[in-house]
């Protein structure tokens, strides 16, 4: 069970000091199973309960959160490093397939995140989904979503990670297409599923290449091999690393796979909140972090490309948020942009920086989505042009949304400021200065579009038709619950600051089998932090000038379009069209060819086979069966019939005739015995 502790001990130079977490780590697998139990219970009994199964889902995640919190606290104070696995199958002589759970700094952080954000979103959903269609199915699929993510997060090897990975994809498909009465939602679900599936091929191929090379799929073996610069692994590191990155690009919506994420807004808002905060889209970043030593030590040539893709994503997709009119799509583009930050950071070598942004982002992005859901609940529209002036009607939603926006924009001292600053510092230290400037520009854009969203939603005059009202307490409670960490959690990782007794986020996250070896700044770089902060302030100021100030020109500012860029942005850089065009260009001739072969060749063969079979069947039936076989049996039965009619006459019913026969037989026997034998 604790084989990885032994492995770590053998690797003296990379040794990480940690406890084994005791009973709570040994039983942490319960977190991976409970959501699936909840799934089954909700499917079976959900309909009969008061909240239609919602209470079961909340209870499951509530129990999970107890485990996650205890492990989280244990990790704060001494570090927890443990692994429990069960052998499921053995392939050939060497490859072993195991299931189990890892408990280390990285997975504990994710357990905590998924269960904490998940619990609040589930509670929120109790209010949000009230009176909606198919509520039990919603909570069942939602539990499945969280459960699959926990399977993924707890994976001790690539195989289990793929299982969770696909489970998350499946659950997201259910949830994005939740309102399947409308064909557009079904299409959005299909788009998400298929886009992900293309990228998944990369993950699976990468896992196979690495697993076969190492002889095991275990992450600890991979980490150790990477740290030791194992020659076998070095040979495939670049290809394997790129393939894993390819898979991560799909789930974490990196350019050009980002196209599925905005469409995924078709699902209910709590789904978007959970998907964007803690579960699905973080999976790619998590994969990169889990296999971080591979990229840090071996696949170093890939890093420049990965940083570039992350940087393109963070700036280009961030700009798209400026033209989106659907409040959820603004947030979706913002998520893609922030995922670009995380990917850039992890790829550049900032293990802690990327994951810290993932951690803080989960809280404020979850908060923003739940806030958007609260607004949509009130005005019955997703469209920013139907909102405006809502701060008077929805005070709690308003101030929590503003907190989330400021945190996202990176305003001191909220969470986003610290995590974004750390990414900038990493990019600078690792020598990706050009990308650092892109990231600063991204900070400006982030602040810019969030100002637009806040101004159009909460300021000015109300333009909608429904009667706006504050959401019930079951929905505002989770908003407050997420606003507090959005404000405070940035303080967990101030460069150079170690809180007495608990240390800081960098130390907690470093509890892995091997030391990650990423760089940590010893103190705040005020010039860099100032630049990031200045860019954010500039974005807010400019955004406020355009969208916030002048109430009299409301319509003009609603219609404000970013000069020059607008047509490009409006069409989302034509990536969706290009993807669709690519699919058309390749699949249409293929489909025609397949159709032709189907009609003329396969149908011909099938018809010929069918006709031949029919003819043969007729022959057999008429010739062989009717005449031959039936004739034999009819003849036999007729013979038996006539013989029976003849022979039954013997049965006269007169006893003395039988006796005479008996005597005659006896006489014949006597004659035989006496004279013949």
């Amino acid at each position: 069970m604790t084989n990885l502790l032994i492995l770590a001990a053998e690797e003296g130079e990379h040794l990480v000091q940690a406890g084994d977490g005791g009973w709570w780590a040994d039983t942490a697998g319960i977190m991976l199973i409970l959501p699936f139990v909840a799934f089954g219970l909700i499917m079976a009994f959900g309909k009969r309960l008061k909240h239609q199964g919602g209470e079961i889902a909340v209870a499951a995640l509530g129990i999970n959160l107890v485990w996650a919190t205890i492990l989280f606290v244990a990790n704060l104070t001494g570090g927890v490093l443990d692994q429990t696995t069960f052998e499921i199958a053995r392939i050939g002589s060497g490859l072993v397939f195991e299931l189990g759970w890892v408990v280390d700094g990285l997975s504990i952080m994710m357990y905590f995140l998924v269960n904490f954000v998940g619990l609040l979103v589930f509670i929120y959903a109790l209010g949000y989904m009230k009176g909606d269609v198919r509520v039990p199915w919603f909570f069942a699929a939602f539990s499945l979503f969280a459960g699959a993510m926990l399977i993924l997060v707890g994976a001790p090897n690539l195989v289990q990670m793929i299982i969770g990975w696909e489970g998350v994809g499946l659950a997201s498909y259910f949830l994005i297409g939740f309102y399947w009465d409308d064909l557009d939602n079904v299409k959005a679900g299909n788009k998400a599923f298929m886009t992900n599936k293309v990228a998944d091929v990369g993950l699976i191929l990468g896992a196979i290449i690495i697993g076969v090379t190492l002889g095991t799929f275990d992450f600890d073996a991979l980490d150790l091999a990477a740290i030791e610069h194992s020659e076998a692994l070095a040979g495939v590191a670049l290809v394997g690393g790129f393939l894993l990155f390819f898979g991560a690009m799909g789930k974490s919506a990196q350019f050009p796979f980002h196209i599925w994420l905005p469409d995924a807004m078709a699902g209910p808002t709590p789904v978007s909140a959970l998907m964007h905060a803690a579960t699905m889209v973080t999976a790619g970043i998590y994969l990169m972090a889990r296999t971080f030593p591979l990229f840090q030590n071996l696949a170093t040539e890939a890093r420049g490309w990965m940083v570039a893709i992350g940087a393109i994503t963070l700036l280009a997709i961030g700009l798209l948020a400026l033209v989106a009119n659907d409040i959820k799509k603004v947030l979706a583009y913002s998520t893609v942009s922030q995922l670009g930050y995380m990917m850039t950071a992890v790829a550049a070598g900032g293990y802690t920086a990327g994951l810290f942004h993932l951690f803080t982002h989960a809280f404020f992005k979850g908060l923003l989505f739940l806030g958007a859901g609260s607004v949509i609940h009130a005005v019955h529209s997703n469209d920013l042009t139907d909102m405006g002036g809502l701060r008077k009607y929805m005070p709690t939603t308003y101030w929590t949304f503003v907190v989330g926006s400021l945190a996202l924009a990176g305003i001191f001292p909220l969470a986003g400021f610290w995590s974004k600053d750390e990414i900038l510092a990493t990019l600078q230290f690792e020598g990706y200065v050009a990308f650092m400037w892109i990231a600063i520009a991204g900070a400006f854009v982030t602040a810019f579009y969030m100002t637009r969203a806040v101004a159009l939603t909460f300021f000015g005059e109300y333009k909608g038709h429904a009667e706006p009202h504050e959401s019930p307490r079951i929905m505002t409670g989770p908003l407050v619950g997420l606003a507090i960490p959005s404000i405070l959690f940035g303080l967990l990782n101030i460069p150079g600051v170690s809180w007495p007794g608990i240390g800081n986020f960098t130390e907690w996250l470093g509890i892995r089998v091997v030391a990650m070896g990423d760089h940590h700044a010893e103190a705040i770089d005020f010039a860099l932090a100032g630049m990031g902060f200045g860019a954010a302030l500039l974005g807010i100021a400019l955004g406020w000038m355009i969208w916030g100030k002048d109430r009299n020109t409301q319509q003009a500012r609603d219609r404000f379009e970013v000069p020059a860029l607008y047509p490009l942005l409006r069409h989302k850089y034509y990536v969706d069209d290009a993807a669709l065009g690519l699919v058309w260009a390749t699949s249409n001739p293929l489909a025609r060819f397949v159709d032709w072969t189907n009609t003329y060749i396969i149908d011909g063969i099938v018809n010929a086979v069918g006709g031949g079979t029919k003819f043969l069947g007729g022959l057999v039936y008429n010739g062989l069966d009717q005449i031959g076989v039936d004739g034999v049996f009819n003849g036999l039965s007729a013979a038996a019939d006539s013989a029976g009619s003849a022979l039954r006459k013997i049965q006269t019913g007169r006893v003395q005739e039988y006796a005479a026969g008996f005597v005659a037989g006896a006489l014949i026997l006597v004659v035989l015995f006496v004279f013949v034998i």
């Binding site: 006269t652 019913g653 003395q656 006796a659 005479a660």
Partner: protein, 101 residues
Amino acid sequence: MIVNQFLVLAAALFALGVYGLLVRRNIVLILLSVELMLNAVNINLVAFEAMLNTPEALGQVFAIFVITVAAAEVGIGLAIVLMIFRNRRSANVDELNLMRW
């Protein structure tokens, strides 16, 4: 010892029994004929025992067996005859041809 005279007697009795069995029409007489055949066999058994003089006296034992079986047979046979007579007011075997084809 010579057993010829006993064998001749037994054969005559047996033939009489067979004759009676085949030609009599009254069921009671047919049963009597069967008894005649059994007793012919008994005579043979006793005669051969007297000649061979086995230590276990097997012939006599078998004769006693046959008498016992014959008594049981007559008991059951007469009971059946009685029932048939009660049902059909007749003891003529020619009329008892229900079990025919």
